[in-house]
Amino acid sequence: MTGHSHHDNLNHWLDRAADGLPSQQAAAVRAELAAHVEDAVDDLVRQGVPQAEAQQRALAALGDPQPVAHGFNDIYRGRRHYLAAMLASVLLLIESLMFHQVYKALDVVDYSTASRLLYIADHAVFVLLLVYVVIVCRWLLLWRFNVQTGNTPIRLIVGGYGLYLVGNALLELLVDSWDPVPTLSNTSDPVEWVGLLVMDGGMLVGSAGTVLFGICAFQARSGLLKATAVLAIVASGTTSIAIALLLLNIEAYLFHGLSILAGLLLWPTVFLLFLRMAYTRHYLPARTA
């Protein structure tokens, strides 16, 4: 290996190790790790190792740059998001438990424009918080537990819950009144039918995405995280089945009730547990000798 190629290899390693970090931290990390390699090469040369071999060995001793990048991203990018996502989970829980009481207190449980807009805003905030928490969980799984979830679950969740919001807005804005537990067969209004299909279809896709996400999270080497992932899979799986039954025009009220419970209470609880325990655990890969 020539001196020039060592420089290139070192730069490549440093690029990967500092990947995703804010520029100030990236520069500091690169300088510190480059100095480490310089010291390691000098040490090996002093022991009689030829320069080229010393450079090669010093770089190899750094190990895989990916877990290093995960560790730094966890520290410099993740921490504030983990706290924010925990707050978002608490808000999701409060929203789930309190919103109907707020409706009653405000006396807006009617089909007025204000009531409908409030419902749309409530759903939009709920979905935005949910998506944010899922994205942070994804980072956390990657940076803290070295588990890759891929883009598919996130796309399904964002796309599915986006459709859910569109369907909900269609129903609230264009339909005079609609059945709180509707099926496609008990509606004759085509707009209501489309609205229900988009809303329920979106939720089905989103729930399928969260099941997939839970399956990925199950790979983490943590018993508590595995248990939480199972809870998430059961909660969103229940929702998926309930929505599928509704789309098939099967009025399974018990199941629908369970899915509402799962969607409103279990999900925020799952996320809160997930983030809480992951926030307090450290798993940094190390070489075995």
């Binding site: 480490h36 290093v68 890969p285």
Partner: protein, 104 residues
């Protein structure tokens, strides 16, 4: 031997001896354990930065062998944490020894 769960304790213990830079810490762990304990050098640094953010160690710049290096030293909070983790470790190893040592 895989040391990932005990890396903070090892770092704090090494720095209790004297302030060091990252390379010095890695070599001290390796040599101090007669080569049994070794960490991939790169993964040491996120842990160092994490301990610094927790206030258990602090970073400062110092000239080592004619070159400016980022070094680390133990803080008062780090000394207390080292004492706590050491007690935990001794309790754990004693418990394991009670079982393993009793098997003939």
């Amino acid at each position: 031997m895989n040391i990932k769960g005990n890396l903070p304790l090892l770092i704090l213990r090494v720095l209790a001896g004297a302030p060091r830079h990252g390379y010095g810490i890695a070599r001290e762990i390796e040599h101090g354990s007669e080569g049994v304990l070794a960490v991939a050098d790169g993964t040491l640094y996120p842990m160092l930065h994490d301990l610094a953010r927790q206030g258990l160690i602090e970073a400062f710049e110092e000239t080592v062998n004619g070159r400016l290096r980022r070094c680390y030293r133990l803080t008062n909070a780090g000394q207390r944490e080292l004492a706590r983790q050491t007690r935990e470790w001794q309790r754990y190893t004693r418990a394991v020894n009670l079982i393993v040592g009793g098997i003939s």
